[in-house]
Amino acid sequence: MTIATDLGARPSRPLPFWPMVWAAALAAVMVLALLGDRFPALIDYPAAAVVPLTDWVSAIMAWLKANITWLTRSITAILGVPLDFALSLFAKNFKIGAGPEAIVLPRLSWVGIVVAAFLAGRAFGGWKLGALVGGCFLYIALFGKWTSAMLTLGLISIAVPFCIVTGLLIGIWAWRKPWAEKLIVSPSLDLMQTIPTFAYLIPMLILFGNSPVSAMIATAIFAMPPMVRATMLGLSRVPSEIGDFSEMAGCTARQKLWRVLLPSARPTLMVGVNQVIMLALNMVIIASMIGAGGLGYDVLLALRALKVGEAMEAGLAIVALAIALDRLSQAMARRQARGHVHGDAEAGPFWKRYPNLSLALVVLAATTIAGLFIPAFADVPKAITMTTAPAWKAGVSWITINLFDVIEAVRVALILYVLNPVRAFCEGFPWLGAVFLLGLAAFQLGGARLAILVAALTAYCAVTGLWEKTMATVYLVGISAFISCLIGIPIGLWASRSDRVEKIVTPIIDTLQVLPSFCFIIPVVMLFRVGDVTAMIATVAFAVVPAIRYTNHGLRQVPPALMEAAVVSGCTKRQTFFRVQLPLALPEIMLGINQTILMALSMIIICAMIGTRDLGQEVFIALSKADAGRGIVAGLAIAFIGIIADRLFGAWTAKARGKLG
């Protein structure tokens, strides 16, 4: 209804203000571009005027390194204790003493862990989940990735509880103190989630050294934001009546929080826990570059040596671990929310109250002790492991031999007709024009404050001397996000119109979403080798998920009553869709596009590993040289690109939502 009046009102406006402004602005930028020949400073930021932010940051890091190393090294030592314990427990065996006399206590038996995984799955989601989770672990064991996978799992098992506790406390603080949320927590979260993963690693590497501990700290910082957000969201969503009740029951402030509000918010908190686990897994893989070891390191080594078969195998083990952890933690979240035990569950001895947990503990202990005498329990016997690496390799060879022409033609065509022209356009775009146009857009969407923020962040990319690299990033992200939307939105549309399609699409995108970003690169590299095309294809595969999900969700959540109203007023199917359903779903779809852009950005940065020439590469190089200034400055530039996109889309969505009421 609002829409109808809105559509009706538009043509009658005497002078379309904004279109005129935009026409003038574009003309001005065009002139700027034409003048570029004579004044190159308009296009490329003059090298002489570059603010030496890099040097300043490097100086600060150097000072930090010199002066607080004692602190960071002690932290490393302290955090190293639980971490070593976890790593020994899962992967490395305990060694007490040194040399040949050292007593070696075995790690947990792989048989025991597989059985325990199965039992955990069965306890929270029945036989089916038990089989899935147990199967994933068995797969890892049989394909010879056991030790690597357990190193990864050990790191996660320490990083995740740390994230949950810290995230919870920060979330509570931010919820209690609105000023803290507004001034400190929200901006930090935005920054933490848009700074590329690599950029986290550099200061960690410098301060904490190349060790599993610094990998764990980087992981913890990276994976914490969803817990903070979930805590704030969960607490603010608890109905006010429940808060009133707790006061009327005479709860003290502490009782109110811990015994009423937090338990009431549990379903939302568990969603946060699930996200923390998945992000931690993702980050642990990337943190293998600074000493985390584990599956990520296997992939890294294989990719560096271009052993695609090995990389694929390690990648699949990551996928198995990711699926197992995701399904298990989701089932736990649902189970917690359901809880249906009738009868006095509290009575009886421990093993009766927790039969699955007790059984798992017994099996773990028994198999681990058995491992002392029977080697097959301690290590996965070579005889039963298998490898698919040669098969992958043969497959790739076959494809390269037989389909080389086709693939090469696609690759060359993409480069010649898509990538290169866009790249040329982006890199030739005057920086001053970009600052101006983005600022103008921000002003139209969100007023003066947003305009200043956006213009300042854009200018940052120029004055730090990173303009060319920034535009190289923007071009790849732009193309990838565009193609993702081109593929994702129609699929989402299709899924929204057919339950059968939705049923097929949902599990696929759910799985795509839990896969660590690393995994997307491997199969593409096998076919397209390294370069921009590979980066683009991997990014599209990674970033297509939100476009599908939000489109489907947005279209489906249009109230049926409105659709019926449209049909009853005599709309054709086409009119119903274009005049009612689409405008109402548009804010949600825009949110999906926003997410797609952010995911594309994060993926493009990781693609620096396969030889792109953008900001990601800058960070990657800085990482390998442990050059903090260079890495952090480029990392911030990447974060700012994300923030600009996010703010502009956010303002647009808010505006559209406001119009719809």
Binding site: P239, E241, I242, D244, F245, E247, M248, A249, G250, C251, T252, Q255, R259, V260, P263, S264, R266, Q336, A337, G339, H340, V341, H342, G343, D344
Partner: protein, 362 residues
């Protein structure tokens, strides 16, 4: 006839003063939202018109409310949404801090007690039931009901024994280990009621407790409340937007509009003597025979034969069929058995037909 009715009416209004002590009272209570509201109302000493508020750009959610709730009484605060009734009851329980005025609990200013004292008061002497039940989703029925006791540090065996007592009282036996989401709305509110009773409170706040229930269940729960009150004799502050519910349950009703109490009285007083057109609008569709008592319909005895006896408080509906069948006046007798007047069949018929000149409106 008219003279007789007038005496009857004045007799009804001149009822003996309620001897029960005042349990909870509001004295010129204000809740004003807006910048510097506390100073604004403070400098005016709690006197301001709605025009004053509008001029200052403030919103008066509750305005100069004076109420006295007596011990053991069901006091209903009735108003449509936005009338400030929920805010008022939250001021009375200090869930919301009033901007001005005093709230007295047994003569003591509730707004001056310390946080620790307030917690003690709430733990032992106040209970509250909520519109949307406000049950804790992670606890089962038994744990929910025992929760207020558990935060007092009462040991498990003791608090569960008490919880089972109230479960019995509200008729939820056999549901102890169900979770809130497994119960129907009516059952959930029974849990809410049981939970608020577990601490044996003296003052019981009921914030639209039955509004989220469907009509049949609502009626059942109203009967249940009357049954419980017959056993427990709590002091009840009950919020509702449903005038029929108010009439069914109330000893006295306060009608709120735009943050103000516009009339306080028994259901009968409101029906017979509405203070404003707004109140009259509510009472128009009320079945008068269910509200009006023999006392207000009686006239001095004419000396004829009586077909029966009724108490002055008896509602007309309770004996209308009998009196019309008997065809003779009924004597109205007080506690000592002395007749103080009589009700004629004609008066009852007139009332039922709505042709009585007094209260019936076209």
């Amino acid at each position: 006839m008219n003279a007789a009715v007038d005496t009857g009416l004045s007799a009804a209004l001149a009822r003996p003063v309620d001897p029960r002590p005042i349990k909870l009272a509001c004295r010129n209570v204000w809740k004003v939202f807006g910048p510097d509201a506390v100073d604004w109302i403070g400098t005016r000493d709690g006197r301001a018109s709605s025009a004053d508020l509008a001029e200052a750009g403030l919103v008066g959610a509750v305005r100069h409310v004076d109420l006295e709730i007596r011990q053991g009484e069901i006091f209903i605060i009735m108003g449509l949404s936005g009338s400030g009734k929920s805010t008022l009851v939250r001021c009375m329980s200090r869930l919301i801090e009033p901007t001005f005025g005093t709230v007295e609990f047994e003569g003591k200013d509730l707004l001056k007690v310390s946080d620790a004292e307030l917690i003690e008061l709430r733990r032992h002497r106040m209970g509250m039931v909520f519109q949307n039940f406000a049950l804790l989703p992670h606890l089962n029925v038994l744990e929910n009901i025992a929760f207020p006791l558990s935060i007092q540090g009462i040991d498990r065996a003791k608090r569960e024994a008490r919880a089972r007592e109230v479960i019995e009282l509200v008729g939820l036996r056999g549901r102890e280990h169900f979770y809130p989401r497994e119960l129907s709305g009516g059952q959930q509110q029974r849990v809410g009621i049981a939970r608020s009773l577990a601490t044996k409170p003296e003052v019981w706040f009921l914030d639209e407790p039955f509004s989220a229930l469907d009509p049949l269940i609502r009626r059942e729960m109203q009967d249940e409340l009357l049954r419980l009150q017959g056993v427990l004799h709590k002091t009840i502050a009950f919020i509702t937007h449903d005038f029929d519910e108010a009439i069914r349950l109330a000893d006295r009703i306060a009608i709120m509009k735009d943050g103000e109490v516009i009339q306080t009285g028994t259901p009968e007083e409101l029906v017979v003597n509405p203070a404003t057109d707004y109140v009259a609008e509510f009472t128009r569709d009320v079945q008068r025979a269910k509200v009006i008592s023999a006392r207000s319909l009686m006239r001095p005895c004419a000396g004829g034969e009586h077909g029966g006896v009724v108490a002055p408080e008896a509602r007309i509906a309770s004996f209308s069929a009998g009196i019309v069948a008997a065809g003779k006046p009924f004597a109205v007798v007080n506690g000592t058995g002395k007749p103080i007047g009589e009700v004629t069949p004609q008066a009852v018929i007139d009332l039922l037909a709505g042709i009585d000149g007094r209260g019936a409106r076209p």
